[in-house]
Symmetry: C2
Subunit: 180 residues, 2 copies
């Protein structure tokens, strides 16, 4: 893939109830452009396996429709409630699976790195991030709902990386995997 | 499905590195029978999305080959290391997805309930569980490796339930889902 080829980045802010996403196009000599953003909602009354299937299908449908090159996803947020964090891990698992099934390159960023990339500081407030998402993409207002803006911010974290390598040279991040 | 139809139970002990499984057949007027057991291993050097894809494909292949009616899976074990538990949640997520894609009924049991069902007490040791798995299925020795035995024990937790309902009346367990 030559340097002039556009790179489509699918950014995702995972959640069991609401998964926010944004697709950003990066092209040489053009400003970053928002292609689409939105949320995948699941019903709280449905069982977890059903909700995981809906998240997987929602992400797979986005990938089928836009054929993004890269998944940029928020790393796990360690909530005080461990059970909440673990259920969130289930949702992240099926999102990573959808990207793996599509052969996409996958990048993960901790919440603070996404904030820093978009708003200059890892301590940026939600409002500051929303303001900068709108400004960077020349939107009249920040994407709604805020989960969609968080998905766009995740895409921007990759798209704004200073030296965007060509697709072939992107290395997957090594994971720390428990042995058990 | 009539009462005389056999029920095939796929039991799974999830893990990122090693996922143990066992398939047990329950039939009216016949003792419980072990159909197959084993492990799905992933390479520690591979990235998590690749390992999740291998776990998903491994479980999907088992389902395609045996067409089990029920997935009986160990509920999350809250390890002291939160990161370990969260990564395990990713693996459980793709296993639940594989079962949901196959339209299977899904039952979850905490580790202590599996021990109690198989060995009579939630405080049973690993050796006691292995001994009882072998005895209940009339095997000469416990399945190896121990992760496979843990998968079989998960299948037995459902198969040994006192009043096995017909497939149609099995209710899915309600999950507690965070709102975030």
């Amino acid at each position: 893939m030559g340097e002039s080829e556009p790179v489509l980045v699918l950014g995702i802010d995972p959640g069991t109830a609401v998964t926010g996403y944004g697709i950003v196009r990066k092209e040489a000599r053009n400003p970053l452009a928002l292609v689409e953003c939105g949320v995948i909602r699941t019903k709280p009354r449905d069982a977890l396996p059903q909700r995981l299937a809906e998240i997987y299908e929602g992400v797979t449908e986005l990938i089928r429709r836009h054929k993004p090159n890269v998944l940029s996803i928020e790393d796990i947020f360690y909530a005080r409630n461990v059970r909440t964090t673990v259920v969130l891990g289930h949702a992240r698992g099926v999102i990573l699976l959808a990207a793996a099934h599509a052969g996409m390159e996958i990048h993960e960023y901790p919440p603070s790195e996404i904030k820093k990339a978009v708003a200059g500081t890892g301590a940026a407030t939600k409002l500051q991030v929303q303001f900068m998402v709108a400004r960077l993409l020349r939107l009249k207002s920040a994407p709604q709902p805020t989960d969609a803006a968080d998905g766009v911010a995740a895409a921007l974290a990759f798209a704004l990386a200073p030296d965007l390598p060509t697709i072939e040279s992107i290395r997957r991040r090594d994971y720390i995997i428990p042995t058990g």
